[in-house]
């Protein structure tokens, strides 16, 4: 795993090493089969176990599936997803728009690092959930507080990975720029930023997970609308089938979004995989 990681910038999260390994694994047909078998076994165990307990405490997969279909049919689930998706997207995009430039500036200029580097580290380390009550005072109970929560949860992960990427731009490549008399802006746009793209994408991928937590937390606290609202309502009204249906949707959405980021990454930085794969 270290052999894979040492070419690219060391990422600031454990998930990354794992996901990188997962991506580098060649999925043979047999592996897929084993994975499918694992899923089936888990579903069977869950089904059998859930049938043993009170239906107000747990729901077997069959009931969850039925609830899921019902929630799609009556339109409550699509509405909830759409309610969550809007502040999610706004918050996430804001986090990119703010986080990437901030990370670039901190990484490139020592003054900026001294001035606000500590803030980004503190923000990344701190559980932003603690700020939810005060966010509700500032932003109310609607759209704004959800977007703000997503943004604060995500922006530090993006910044810190971008920063990390800038610091790991090979010095020799910058020297190539210097040797061929490239101006500072040209070195920044032609050498530093392209080198940092893989790290930015790492930040975005980790950011997805953080953003999902952010939206759910905000909706738990405000308990108004969205997937988080559905979960909390179902929990409070002893409907575990509906609750698990919403959780499954949340999980699928997070996996799909992370996969999407991976796809974008391969489009934007196709050279990175072969470098990280040790093509030397």
């Amino acid at each position: 795993m270290t052999a894979l990681a040492d070419q690219a910038a060391p990422p600031v999260d454990d998930e990354t090493a794992l996901s990188r390994r997962m991506r580098s694994q060649r999925r043979s047909g047999r592996d897929r089969l084993v994975t499918a078998a694992g899923v089936v076994v888990l579903l069977i165990i869950w089904e059998v176990a859930a049938r043993q307990v009170d239906p107000i405490l747990a729901a077997p997969p069959s009931a969850v599936f039925t609830a899921l279909i019902g929630m799609i049919a009556d339109g409550s689930l699509p509405v909830a997803v759409w309610e969550s998706a809007q502040p999610f997207l706004v918050g996430y995009l804001l986090a990119i728009v703010v986080g990437v430039p901030v990370g670039l500036l901190i990484g490139r200029f020592r003054v900026v690092e001294a001035a606000i580097g500590w803030l980004v580290i503190a923000g990344y380390a701190m559980p932003m959930i603690a700020l939810t009550p005060v966010f509700m005072l500032w932003f109310g109970l609607g759209f704004a507080v959800k977007a703000a929560m997503v943004m604060t949860m995500t922006v530090f992960a993006i910044s810190i990975n971008t920063w990390n990427g800038v610091q790991n731009v090979p010095r020799t490549l910058i020297e190539v720029g210097t040797a061929f008399c490239a101006s500072q802006p040209r070195i920044l746009t032609q050498i530093v930023i392209p080198s940092v793209i893989p790290s930015i994408m790492t930040g975005l991928r980790i950011g997805i997970g953080k953003a999902v937590v952010g939206i759910v937390i905000a909706e738990f606290f405000t308990a108004i609308g969205g997937i988080g609202g559905v979960i909390i309502d179902a929990g409070h009204s002893f409907q575990p089938d509906r609750m698990f249906a919403a959780v499954v949707v949340l999980m699928l959405a997070a996996v799909a979004l992370t996969g999407l980021i991976g796809l974008v990454e391969r489009r934007l930085a196709p050279w990175n995989r072969s470098i990280a794969g040790g093509a030397h």
Binding site: P170, T172, L173, E175, V176, G177, T178, A179, F180, C181, A182, S183, R186, Q190, I191, P194, A269, W271, N272, S274, I275, A279
Partner: protein
């Protein structure tokens, strides 16, 4: 007389500060001259300052004392009169071979069409015309270094400066590249200064070998290889001069004095 002079290194010294804040003399009063179209090797044991010296000529490092002039112009940082080839090619991985060759031309603000033309000419010169659109990770080590050479040649510099250009390559590729460098030299007539820790390579390729010795890094001797007009590497390698010069260079590198025997059956 000065029209024949490509590079003039005059009394160059360099003092570094190490981690503990002590002053380390990396180079002390080094002077030598390189004539136009000449190939000069800088060699010596590790720590002799050969790379530092080259980096000073490149303009990537400031000398603590002395001066370097290229074509009569004092070296102050980078300059289009010097084309630089790095040890590991150091290509931009997101650019194609041709895009990499264009990099130095872009930095000089050449219009796109002119840039493309000059880059294509340079990439043909190193024999990579049909790999122009491949990215570095799709190229072999030797091909990558050829792109590095093309990038340096594309800006049409007076002097080509190369930092251990073939040391990262396997033995067979290295031999091939050495031959190609001589061919490129014949066709372009560029002045070439390269750093090498390889005795054989220095003797084979260079017209003159500048040897440095460490602690502090200083000039120890300059060896004329005198192969005459033969550019065939196999011929050079099997000649009596090669064995003799190789022996002499070894003596120099190890800090011994030699009396170069001139006119040995040239």
């Amino acid at each position: 007389m000065s029209g024949d002079l490509a590079v003039d290194v005059r009394g160059v010294s360099k003092v570094f500060q190490d981690d503990k804040g002590r002053q380390v003399q990396a180079l002390q009063d080094v002077s030598f001259q390189v004539r136009r179209s000449e190939i000069v090797a800088l060699t010596g044991r590790s720590g002799c300052g050969k790379t530092t010296l080259l980096r000073i000529i490149m303009g990537l490092e400031q000398p603590s004392g002395g001066s370097v002039t290229v074509d009569g112009v004092p070296v102050q940082g980078c300059g289009p009169n010097r084309g630089i080839v790095f040890q590991n090619a150091e290509l931009l991985p997101w650019r194609t071979a041709l895009g990499n060759v264009e990099f130095g031309l872009e930095a000089r603000g050449l219009p796109k069409a002119e840039r493309r033309e000059a880059a294509e000419r340079a990439i043909e010169l190193v024999g990579l015309g049909n790999a122009a659109n491949r990215r570095p990770h799709e190229l072999s080590g030797g091909m990558r270094q050829r792109v590095g050479i093309a990038r340096a040649l594309a800006i049409d510099p007076a002097v080509l400066l190369m930092d251990e250009p073939f040391s990262a390559l396997d033995a067979q590729t290295r031999e091939k590249m050495q031959g190609e460098l001589l061919e490129i030299h014949q066709r372009t007539g560029k002045t070439i200064i390269f750093v090498s820790h390889d005795i054989d390579e220095s003797v084979l390729l260079a017209d003159r070998v500048v040897t440095l010795v460490p602690d502090p890094g200083r000039l120890h001797g300059v060896l004329d290889t005198g192969f005459g007009d033969s550019t065939d590497l196999d011929e050079r390698r099997s000649s009596a001069e090669f064995a003799l010069r190789r022996h002499e260079l070894l003596q120099l590198v190890h800090g011994r004095e030699i009396q170069q025997q001139d006119g040995v059956s040239i």
